[in-house]
Every structure is written in structure tokens, then in C-alpha cells.
Symmetry: C2
Subunit: 405 residues, 2 copies
Amino acid sequence: MKKNILVGQSGGPTAVINSSLYGVIKAGRASQEINSVIGMVNGIEGFLQNQILDLSALPEQEAMLLCTTPAAYLGSCRYKLPEDLEHAVYGQIFEQFVQYQIGYFLYIGGNDSMDTVSKLSRYAAKIHSDIRFIGIPKTIDNDLIMTDHTPGFGSAAKFVASMVRQMVLDSEVYHTKSVTIIEIMGRSAGWLTAASALARKYEGDNPVLIYLPEADFDLEEMLARVTTLLESKSNLIICVSEGIHDQSGKLICEYDQEIATDVFGHKNLTGCGKILENTIKERLGVKVRSVELNITQRSNAVEASLTDVEEAQRCGEEGVQLALQGESGVMVGMERKDTDSYEIQYKAVDVAQVCNQEKLFPKSWITKDGADITQDFVQYALPLIQGESRPLMENGLPLFLYRKH
Amino acid sequence: MKKNILVGQSGGPTAVINSSLYGVIKAGRASQEINSVIGMVNGIEGFLQNQILDLSALPEQEAMLLCTTPAAYLGSCRYKLPEDLEHAVYGQIFEQFVQYQIGYFLYIGGNDSMDTVSKLSRYAAKIHSDIRFIGIPKTIDNDLIMTDHTPGFGSAAKFVASMVRQMVLDSEVYHTKSVTIIEIMGRSAGWLTAASALARKYEGDNPVLIYLPEADFDLEEMLARVTTLLESKSNLIICVSEGIHDQSGKLICEYDQEIATDVFGHKNLTGCGKILENTIKERLGVKVRSVELNITQRSNAVEASLTDVEEAQRCGEEGVQLALQGESGVMVGMERKDTDSYEIQYKAVDVAQVCNQEKLFPKSWITKDGADITQDFVQYALPLIQGESRPLMENGLPLFLYRKH
């Protein structure tokens, strides 16, 4: 009997998570063994409320728009299943699986989403269910293990590098000395901040300093560096991860917070960029501004990487293939072939191993002074930002696929 | 005898100020009456230090890159010439004009730059110099009078509308209630913030509230509106100009500043978005975040409006034509023809009138409740964001023209 695919999106949105969704729909449609592709609205949390959507009913022309639509078409959730597999929620979920004739469960997401895949597949083994559970990787943070990189990272990295390059030009229009701090997403993994290095055009070009959470940050050392650099260069750009911290582990963004409270006595939480801006201004008396790229770096699909979009789609397709081949409890992993040209091989990796690990930026790719990254990262990252994925335009603005709310 | 053109850029950078520069170079090269096109490095301030560049030496292939290079290729300045035309600096400038055989002075900029053009042209009249002074409009703020709009606005408006549309999708992925404040540039003119309305796809779509500096902002009224809106819509986007203020004229960004000081006792200046974020969080207990688009909105040339890029270039060309026709003390103005299709006519307008005025967003285009804009603006702005100008790409990133520093 033909079975249905149940697919969901979970965790933070990216530029290409919908491209993976399209891959699942496409592969599902192409297979004789699949009846329908059913979408969970707001992930497993929405599914528990029977919030579903028949994706097979989506006309192909609309479905294709998914490849250039950012965020998460199906909606997302941050729902953690209980550790105890005896919990009643598992019984409920599997009852619903039967009700909807689900044979294959595909979940597109990061660490936490892989945890969901792992738990459901273990529960299935426990009750001898033949439903197959597959994880499809997604995160701008690039922090999943057992995969060369994660879909979503390439597009975010491309946007960061492009915007940094453009802000470098912007910062250099006046000859008066200035420092610009650019704060980039990444609480514990600095991959995305490292991508700012791709913006450089020549030796000594901005950003002159790059700080990741993987190296301890020393405020005095940075101030000394800035002082020295300003002697030979008028306009400095410094890129920092939101999660940089000092040797004691204290986050830089928490440095001033006891004092910066608002009229309600409420902590006025600002990012580390603002803290550094104020500190450099005060201590060095130079013009400083800080820019927080914020959610723009994960929302932008107009400057997405075609490589990333295509790989994301392929991950969705491979996920369906793995499920059809009988795999369960696995994530689609990407392995870079050891060839001169960039080539990716897709394979099944154990989702239980993936879900509780975090792939940090290699310490060996950070320069000894902790204030820059090495050429190894540039070589690693450049293939991931190649090619332009452009949404269709309508009346001067990108045309996206909207789900009726 | 053939004369040289002297051209400069002044004030804040935009995505298309270099396109106007290309227009000047192109028209200068095409004219038999022009010898060379000389660029002032860092505007009139750099010129006073003899900082110049022979733009005629720029190979055409490189010059064309100007049309897709953001910021200000020649560098910029914020230098105000003295009111007193008897001041010695005027004599010095005009001596340098003679030294460099300048016949035509073209200055690309906003209000302050037009003030420079006005003063120099009046000084020329005073000393019976036949050098001609022309202003070429530029500002993302769209606040120059006597022109339908200004080059730079269309591209910034397109980027704002595109990013807002993408952040709307991002904000809607979770079903938990949330408010996102997006702070957009504009201290006294709300044109760019109004462009966020272009992001809407359907009636009732985000952004649900838009606040400009041209209407008094009432915090309690906004809180009441947000409360009501959250009853029927889960995720709200609110767009605000950085310069919104209350009825007394007090800026919203100054509301908390006496308290939010850092460890140095230094005012921790945050934008109004952060203030609204904290206030809504505290008062309504809902999830809130704020995003400041900051300099990304004026730096981005990857999503520039082709209409804007072409008009900017044309303004540069028209400036040269007006100079050759004997005009001086004028700015290139853009007049929208009263036809069904969008068509622009270029004309000379009195720069002395332009330089001391500011074109604010029309009050009649703000809805009565002060929390939105009318369809009149949408009709006005849509033609300005049409068409895609895309930089050449090199290794996955935009290729720009760099000036050796």
C-alpha cells in the first residue's frame, strides 16, 4: 500500500529551508511508492494539534517558488520531545501517523530537530513501527557534525560577505578616522562571522579584525590593536560574533548590562557590538558606530547562493531516497570529495550522534593572536557561496510563496 | 580653449551616487568642448588640499563598474563653505580652478552640497568668473525640493521594501505572538520608512503600523493599537523612522537615555526601535525584538533599482549638458510628466532655492490616525523601484570599482 510522507520544518528560518521542502515534494511526487506529501504546520508541535497541509495539492508552478522563498513556508517550532520515551505524547504522535497513513517522516532543521528525529526513530524501534525517520540538515550556524556544511550557511555567508564588502566601501567615504563594528549571528559557533573575511579584496583590506566565540576575547588587547591599526588606516571595520566572551567565559554583551537599565528597571539588553562601540568611543575618542546584521542575515533570499539553494533541494530529495531505501534514524550528510573541483556526495549519518553535538569553528583556523581567521577557512567557504539564486520579481520586489494563515 | 570638468561627491553615500559620476564622465568624454574630467577626492574639502584624480584616465570598462558600485568612489566630505563670500577660502578655490583650467564644476549631493554650489556660483558672479556651477541631486532621504524625487531614494526604498517583506516572512514562522520593530533611516523626513508599505502583499499584511517623523508619536496610543492588533494577528511588524518624536518634540530615542548609561557614565545611545522594544516587552509581556537597518539600507547595490541607477546616470549627463548650455547656479531637477506611464523630464532648477529647504513627507499621505500611509505614496513610489540593477559577480561576490587609498 502506498504511504504518505510527512514533512516539517523546525528551528530558526534560513534562506533555503524551503528549497529542501521543495526537494521533498519533488522526490515524493516522482516516487510510485508515495501517495501524498503532507506538511506539518509549525513542525511537530502543530502536528500534535492536527495542523497539516496537503502539499501534493500545490501546483508545480507555486511549489517551485519555494526554492527562492526565505523563512519557513510550513512555519516552525521550538518544541523538544520528552526524554522519557514512555511519555504519552509518543503514543499520540504515532496514532496520528497511522491516522494519516504516514510511512516516512522527514524533518528539516538543526540540532534540536535532529533530536526529534532521533527520539521518534527510537520510539518506532521500541514499538516495532516501520515508519522511517529522516533528518534534513539546516542552519545558518553551520554547527552540525558529520556533514561538511549545512544548507543555509552558504546563503547567509554570502549575504554577510556581500554586505560587509558594501559597508566597507561605505565606511571609507570620509577621510576622518572611524571604526565600524559589525555584529554577526553566532552564539557559540563563529562560522558566519568568519564569512566576513570573504569580503576582503586585497591584503590589509577590511575587516581588519575578526573575533569569534571560539577564541577568548580580551578588551584591552583589542583596544591596543585598534590604536595601532588607526595609525596606518583611517577607517577600520571589525566583525564580531554576538557570542564573544572573555577568558572567564563572561559574554561581552553582558559587560554593561547591570547599569544600562531602562525607566522600568528592565535590563536594556544590547549586543556586544554596542558595548564595543561605546568602549572604543570612550577610550580612544574616535568616531565609532556599530551595526547589527540581525535577522537580515538569515532572511535574505535575494542574494542567496545558488550552490546552497541547489544543495538544500538535493538534501530534501536524498532524504526521500534514503527513506525509500529503508533507512531510518539518519540525517542526510554532505561529504566533500577529495578532488580539485568542489563536489559533494550525499550519505546517511546517524542522527543520534548528530543531535547532541555542536561543530565549532576549528581553533587551528583562527590566527594565533585570536583576531583573525586563516586562509583555510576561505578555501573551505568559497565554493559554498558560488552562483546567484534570484527570486522572480513582481512590480520591483521579490515574489515569494505565501501560505494562507 | 577646451576646459576641464571638476566633479565631486558630497554628503552621505548611496547606492547610485557613482552612477551619476559615470554620467558626468560619459558626457564629458562625449563633448568636444571638454578636455578632461577631474575628480575631487573627498569633495571640496579634499580639493582645497589639491586631492584630485584624473577620471579621463579611467578605462571605460572600469568606469562602467561605477554604475553598480555603492558608496562614493571619489570619497565624500561634510564641509560647509563660509557664509561670508569675502572669506579668503573663495579666492583660494578660484585660484585652484584657474590652475586646473576648470570650466565646469559639478557637485553630486544633497542639501548641504547644493549650498556649496549656490555659494560658489554666487562668488563666481561677484568676480565675473565664467565657470559654471551645477548641482546633481543625491540622497536616500528624498528630501530635496523642486524635484519629483532624488537619485538614491529608489534603490534604498527597494532594499527597505524587499528586506521588510523578507523579515515579515521570518517573523511569521512561529505561532507564538511576537512584535518586531524595524527602525529605518530618516531623522526628519519619513520617505524611506514609508517605503516599507510597499512590502505588503495583501490587505492587513505586515507592516501593520508605520510611523514617520511627520506625525507626532504617542506611545500609549501605539501600545493600545498593538494590544488590539495582537487579538487578531499573531506576529506584528512595526516600521518606524529613527526620528519619530512625541507631541512636545522630544525624540523617542531620547526617552530612556538618562538612565541607560554605561560603565563610563557615557550615554548609551540606542535607537527608538530599542526603546519601543523594551517598552512593549515590559508593558504587554509579549515577545519583542527590534532590528535597525542602519547603513545597510544606503550601502546595498546588489538589490538596486535599475530605474534609479539609470536616472542617476542621466542626472550626471544632464548636469554636463546644462553646464555646456551656459547654465550656472542650478541643480538638475526631475519632473514627472502627467502621463499614464511613468516618464521623467530633466530641467534646471535654482540651486539657491533648493539648498535651504527640506521636502517632508506630505501630511495628506499619512492616515488620520498617524499610524500608516495612504495609497498615494504607493502610487508615487512604485515606479521608482522598478527593474533590477545587478553588479557583475566575481567568485560569488559583487565586483566593485576600488579607488587606491
